[in-house]
């Protein structure tokens, strides 16, 4: 191929990528930053300023919600890791060749339906007159219906449910790449189960763990339906604030500011996480 043809084909290949990233990702975010810096002073009159951000700082409701969203997302991430890791390990290392694929597929089942249906399913199960409560009454463990919905525990459970696949998938794929001989070498050299887990399996799976955690954290912090539907009167999730600003209060300017804040906040957490674990975005998320 001649140099010119090479250059031309490079440009042709680069164009869709550039259009996609610049028109759909970069420009919209710049636009959002710009919008968030507009202060509304009167109907149809706006000024440049940081008013929307100042409002955010001055109003504890807002930053409390952001912190709450962040900390609950972290909790969900940790839980998803703790619950998902043994399952991923089972799929990758203990299940037979044949059942491995089947189990992996079963993990993906919840992906087949939308958030909405999943939350809907949980509501049917957990409401006061729902399946679980009815079962408890039927078995005589309680006489009155119990309301499982509308509390933080349910929200966390629902969120863990929604995101756990995104933890399991990268974990399975990194653990899959670890030869059995690595683990056997760990035992052979005298390690017990705990040592092997702590010194060999977990360090090896680190890129997968970090990738899973990043995706799970971002998805949780950005989720909307699950906390709203399962949290009921006590949900207050930051995406809901954004939604309210945009939709129920038509206040795009502060909605945009909130969006930027959410993005900045979650990015900060992810960056810290990468820092602490000594990984980089390219060798974790990209690999899996």
């Amino acid at each position: 191929m001649s140099a010119d043809a090479k250059r031309l084909s490079l440009i042709l290949l680069f164009a869709p990528f550039a259009l996609w990233i610049s028109l759909l990702i970069i420009l919209p975010h710049i636009g959002m930053v710009a919008l968030s810096l507009r202060e509304k002073v009167a109907p149809r009159v706006y000024e440049f300023g940081f008013g929307n951000y100042i409002d955010f700082i001055n109003e504890p409701i807002y930053w409390n919600t952001l912190l709450r969203t962040g900390s609950m997302s972290l909790l969900v991430t940790v839980l998803a890791l703790l619950i998902g890791f043994p399952v991923a390990y089972y799929i990758a290392k203990i299940a037979g060749k044949r059942s491995r694929g089947a189990l992996f597929l079963m993990c993906l089942i919840p992906l087949w339906v939308s958030d909405l249906i999943r939350a809907f399913g949980w509501i049917l199960l957990l409401r006061e007159t729902g399946v679980v409560s009815s079962m408890l009454i039927w078995t005589g463990m309680t006489t009155e219906g119990i309301e499982f919905l509308y509390n933080d525990v349910t929200v966390v459970v629902g969120l863990v449910y929604t995101v756990i696949l995104f933890m399991i998938v990268p974990l399975v794929s990194t653990l899959d790449g670890m030869g059995d001989d690595m683990i056997e070498a760990g035992y052979n050299l005298g390690g017990n189960t705990l040592t092997v887990l702590r010194r060999i399996i977990i360090p090896y799976a680190m890129p997968g763990i970090v990738a899973g955690c990043i995706v799970v954290f971002m998805l949780t912090a950005g989720s909307y339906l699950t906390p709203i539907l399962l949290g009921g009167k006590n949900s207050s999730w930051f995406t809901e604030q954004i939604y309210d600003q945009f939709i129920t209060r038509f206040n795009w300017e502060s909605g945009a500011a909130f969006g930027i804040l959410l993005l900045a906040f979650t990015s900060l957490v992810v960056w810290l996480g990468l820092r602490l674990s000594g990984q980089s975005l390219a060798n974790t998320v990209a690999k899996t």
Binding site: E59, E147, K233
Partner: protein
């Protein structure tokens, strides 16, 4: 040609649409369900495009039009205004006229009040009863501006009167917020739409709630113990209107639809679906029989005289109310 309706759930019953399409075979009707806030939000985003007919409440047109210019003036000559009950027509016109242009005409009206299962909660008759510890964990309300206004009324204030003095209104809102936060523990959940409310009520998970009268009537159908109760301080009354988005592309079809649903036999079908009363002369008589019974069971003449119509929302108030609602939502209750 397509008529794209932006309206409330149940404001476009399948039966009527089919009938309409039979009558005008070249028009197809597409419906998007929405609520007051979303209607404005959607039309704001599109600059008034994307829909051909919207149905916001009468108090939500003026400010939105001033701020975002999302509706086009109505051509009253194309609308069969003679059918409409003059009281409602004039009320709506008064609320939606800007620079001499009229932006809305009435369609249906209804109230927001209370609903209770009288066997479980026999003495609910004021907004404050939703916070009665006797019904702890068994009541519900909708966390929207309606409940702010209702609570203000139940505290003996008149929020509409304070719209002219926003500082005073803010004070009132703060008091209302305290009240509602205190009440939060009593609430099972805030309902979002007619459905979850119905489900909770029918299943007996709650025994009393704020409600749209239409929802209450529907439940009355299924369980005669569930009745609509106009609160002592007066049921809050809304009128849903017709308004044409600024960039609607099927005005003709829109007018046809308006006139079509104002025809008496169609009103009955419509009201059967919405549970609300058409804003036409003798609207209540055009209700289906069962609904009529429910209305009659719910309202005495005194209640009707006590109706509180929503006043226009001046600019800025929406923000104040929004923040108050967020505060209530974020407060950690039970």
């Amino acid at each position: 040609e397509t008529l794209r309706l932006l309206t409330w759930g149940s404001y476009a019953p399948e039966e009527l649409i089919q009938k309409f399409e039979e009558k005008y075979p070249d028009i197809k009707v597409e419906v998007t369900f929405s609520n007051n806030e979303e209607m404005i939000a959607k039309l704001r985003a599109t600059g008034g495009a994307g829909f051909d007919l919207a149905q916001p409440s009468h108090d939500r047109i003026y400010a939105a039009q001033l701020e975002y210019d999302i509706y086009k003036p109505l051509d009253l000559s194309q609308i069969n205004t003679d059918m409409m009950s003059p009281v409602h027509l004039e009320a709506v016109k008064a609320n939606t006229t800007i620079d001499g242009n009229v932006y809305g005409v009435p369609h249906q009206w209804g109230t927001t009040g209370l609903m209770a299962d009288i066997t479980q909660a026999p003495d609910v008759n004021g907004w404050e009863d939703l916070c009665d510890p006797a019904y702890k964990g068994k009541t519900s309300m909708r966390l929207k501006r309606t409940i702010l206004l209702a609570t203000a009324f139940s505290m003996g204030e008149d929020p509409f009167a304070m719209y002219s003095d926003l500082d005073k209104y803010q004070e009132l809102l703060d008091k209302v917020a305290d009240e509602l936060i205190a009440c939060k523990e009593n609430i099972k959940a805030y309902w979002q739409g007619g459905d979850d409310l119905s489900a909770m009520m029918l299943s007996g998970e709650i025994v009393a709630a704020e409600t749209w009268d239409s929802t209450a009537y529907k439940l009355y159908d299924q369980n005669q113990n569930i009745v609509f109760i106009p609160p002592e301080t007066g049921a809050l009354t809304w009128i849903d209107t017709f308004a044409i988005p600024a960039k609607g592309k099927a005005d003709d079809a829109a007018y046809k639809w308006i006139n079509f649903v104002l025809e008496p036999e169609n009103i009955t079908i419509m009201s059967a679906s919405t549970g609300a009363i058409a804003a036409v002369n003798g609207g209540a008589d055009l209700l289906p029989e069962d609904k009529k019974a429910a209305v009659n069971a719910a309202f005495t003449q005194a209640d009707i005289d006590n109706l509180k119509f929503f006043a226009n929302i001046p600019p800025g108030v929406e923000d104040m109310e929004g923040k108050t609602l967020e505060k209530i939502k974020a407060a950690t209750g039970g």
